[in-house]
């Protein structure tokens, strides 16, 4: 029996290490490639720095000197758009989630009550962006929103709000209402009870919503490609654009990709707990 257990544990470690390798090796490759000379890249797969090839910092230097303004500009675009739509999604999501958790609605037109409304809201998240390409192009061109931060923020908020409502509603359902009620007995308005008592207690839910909204907006490609052309271009579009300029410079792209991926990977590393929880709230209750 003991031997069987050992075997089992050994197998578990084998699979875990194997999959960890599959996951981590591409990141290793990205990092080493960003330190390879073009000749080293062309010579075929070279694995170990200092042994297989002599690392060079020239691409990173290039990125942070002559390309600095470009990279910074697009990094800032990504940041503004992601933070802006995250903020909007949290505010709208918390409000609607609270409403759905504490009031009884009944929309006569559709016959939906709270569950029906919540289901309609989350279903918006799964509509294909392709269905919005044409109306958004026409609408944004007419309204002068093409290539602006605010334009992208609005578009991303539309995708972030459904998930935010879903998670926040689930979170509020788990909060005891006694605290709010006693605050209201003490003369607080409903809005005060919401902002001073409920919201501070909801930090984990808000963090989860913020992470999801931020990552979605940071990584989004289709809308960014469609609705920007110069000023508001975000990092994914910048990276995808490297495809055509002067052939593919893998070494430079690797460095650029690392810059783009770094913030979200760090979020993943340090806030994994919230991500798993948010996913569960979002998915399990489906």
């Amino acid at each position: 029996m003991h031997g069987r257990k050992m075997w089992r544990l050994a197998l578990v470690y084998l699979f875990v290490i194997f999959w960890s390798f599959i996951v981590l090796f591409p990141f290793f490759w990205l990092i080493t490639t960003s330190f390879k000379t073009p000749i080293a890249v062309a010579r075929g797969p070279l694995y170990l720095p200092f042994i297989d090839f002599a690392p060079t910092g020239e691409h990173w230097e290039y990125l942070f000197t002559s390309q600095r303004d470009t990279v910074l500009r697009h990094f800032r675009n990504s940041l503004i758009v992601a933070l802006g739509s995250t903020l909007l999604a949290v505010v709208l999501g918390a409000m609607a989630g609270y409403g759905l958790s504490r009031f009884r609605y009944h929309w006569r037109l559709t016959g939906w009550r709270n569950d029906g409304i919540a289901f309609w809201i989350i279903s918006n998240r799964f509509l294909p962006p392709a269905a919005f390409v044409v109306p958004f192009l026409i609408l944004y061109t007419t309204a002068g929103l093409i290539d602006t931060h605010i334009g992208l923020i609005i578009a991303y908020t539309m995708f972030n709000v459904p998930f935010a409502v879903w998670i926040m509603r689930d979170f509020f359902n788990g909060l005891p209402i006694d605290l709010e009620e006693s605050a209201r007995v003490d003369g607080a308005t409903r809005w005060q009870a919401f902002t001073r008592i409920v919201l501070p207690l909801s930090t984990p839910g808000i963090v989860a919503v913020s992470i999801f909204s931020f990552i979605f907006s940071w990584n989004e490609f289709l809308y960014a490609l469609m609705l920007t052309n110069y000023d508001a271009i975000t990092l994914p579009v910048l990276i995808a654009g490297q495809n055509t300029n002067r052939g593919i410079e893998w070494w430079f792209i690797s460095a650029l990709t690392l810059v783009a991926v770094m913030p979200v990977v760090l979020i993943g590393l340090f806030l994994e707990r919230f991500i798993t929880r948010g996913l569960m709230a979002g998915a399990v209750k489906g």
């Binding site: 578990v12 470690y13 875990v16 960890s20 599959i22 996951v23 490759w29 062309a42 075929g44 797969p45 694995y47 709208l92 999501g93 409000m95 609607a96 609270y98 409403g99 958790s101 504490r102 009031f103 569950d115 409304i117 799964f126 509509l127 294909p128 962006p129 392709a130 269905a131 919005f132 390409v133 044409v134 109306p135 192009l137 609408l139 609005i154 709000v161 359902n173 788990g174 909060l175 005891p176 209402i177 809005w191 990584n219 289709l222 469609m226 990092l235 994914p236 995808a240 979200v264 990977v265 979020i267 993943g268 590393l269 994994e272 798993t276 929880r277 569960m280 709230a281 998915a283 399990v284």
Partner: protein, 344 residues
């Protein structure tokens, strides 16, 4: 989809939680104080004030564009009004036409894009579910370093899809990639020549390669959800099964599969719906090529609208995708319900 798993209780165990958890079973969700104070004017105003901003946003940005888009799909609207002979319908510069939908039927490129999209969804979901379930069962075992492993497994999900596309392109390079290297060295050990696989240059291979790249990124999603599901299965069940002398296969069939069914349905549905929208990975890894043989529907819509400026036809293709998604969801949920009924 009545999943009764309680996520937060595992850690922050809030005693009140269970009260509202089973929303699907209760006739209507909330147990708010409104029941007592229905009359208060403040409450009636706040009730609408909380929900309406989000609802108005969704109506303005989802319902309205969708209806408008449906209208556009029946016109010949081009980008910038395009050059056309007459003034069009009522002098608006376009004509009403069913031509876009007629064109759908004979458009070879659209048929290929549709096939590709369905291929990505079915093959992708299958691979990701099978692998995800296996990894979840591995992670469900007690071992040291489990939390570290969970964080590592999560990383691809965070990565920008465009970056994942580039990674795919680097790794499936026919000459200078580690995979090509592996396919050279391993056969060499047996005295054979290198195995050359046209990963991204042959359409039949490229479809699979795209699915592999997508699966590298999204298998963790399945793993995390299924792992959370596995962790809610009480260990007594496993022990009871062992006492009864059940084989591993029997344990899987009579405990793991039925108890994991609700979350499996949700996870597969979410992944399926997401893959229907695939574009970024394809744009970067194959560019839809060779030719347009690995294009997805989303990509074709995008090209029709932006590259060719044919708004009317792009809108019509988008509705094909939308109908496909609705059909897929309906069939999938019906089948899932049938399986659930049979299992219980």
């Amino acid at each position: 989809m009545a999943a009764r798993i309680v996520p937060y209780t595992t850690e922050s165990s809030q005693p009140k939680r269970e009260v509202n958890v089973d929303q699907t079973a209760a006739p209507s969700g909330p147990v708010g104080p409104t029941r007592q104070r229905r009359g208060s004017l403040e409450d009636r105003i706040m009730k609408q004030a909380f929900l309406l901003p989000a609802v108005i946003l969704l109506i303005a940005l989802v319902i309205f564009p969708l209806l408008w888009s449906l209208g556009i799909s029946f016109t010949d609207i081009q980008r910038g009004g395009a050059a056309r002979a007459g003034p069009g319908l009522l002098g608006l510069g376009f004509d009403l036409t069913g031509g876009n939908y007629a064109r759908l039927l004979r458009d070879q490129r659209l048929h290929i894009a549709t096939f590709n999209t369905v291929f990505f969804v079915f093959v992708g979901v299958t691979i990701q579910y099978a692998l995800g379930l296996f990894l979840a069962m591995v992670l469900d075992q007690p071992f040291k370093g489990r939390n570290v492993a969970r964080v590592i497994f999560l990383l691809p999900m965070m990565t920008t899809p465009v970056a994942v596309g580039y990674l795919g392109r680097m790794f499936f390079d026919p000459a200078r990639s580690p995979i090509a290297d592996l396919l050279r060295r391993v056969p060499a050990m047996f005295g054979a020549g290198p195995i050359a696989v046209p990963w991204l240059t042959n359409p039949d291979y490229a479809r699979w390669t795209i699915v592999l790249i997508e699966s590298w990124q999204w298998t963790p999603f399945m793993t995390l959800l299924l792992l959370a599901g596995l962790q809610t299965i009480p260990s007594q069940l496993y022990e009871a099964a062992r006492v009864d002398g059940a084989t591993a296969l029997q344990v899987f069939r009579s405990i793991i599969f039925p108890l994991l069914l609700p979350i499996s349905v949700t996870a597969i549905l979410i992944r399926g719906l997401e893959i229907f929208k695939i574009i970024d990975i394809i744009v970067v890894s194959t560019g839809g090529g060779p030719g347009s043989s690995t294009e997805s529907l989303t990509m074709y819509v995008f090209r029709t609208a932006l590259t060719f400026g044919n708004y009317g036809y792009a809108a019509a293709i988008a509705f094909v995708l939308l109908v496909l998604i609705v059909v897929f969801t309906t069939i999938f949920l019906t089948v899932a319900r049938m399986i659930t009924l049979r299992v219980n």
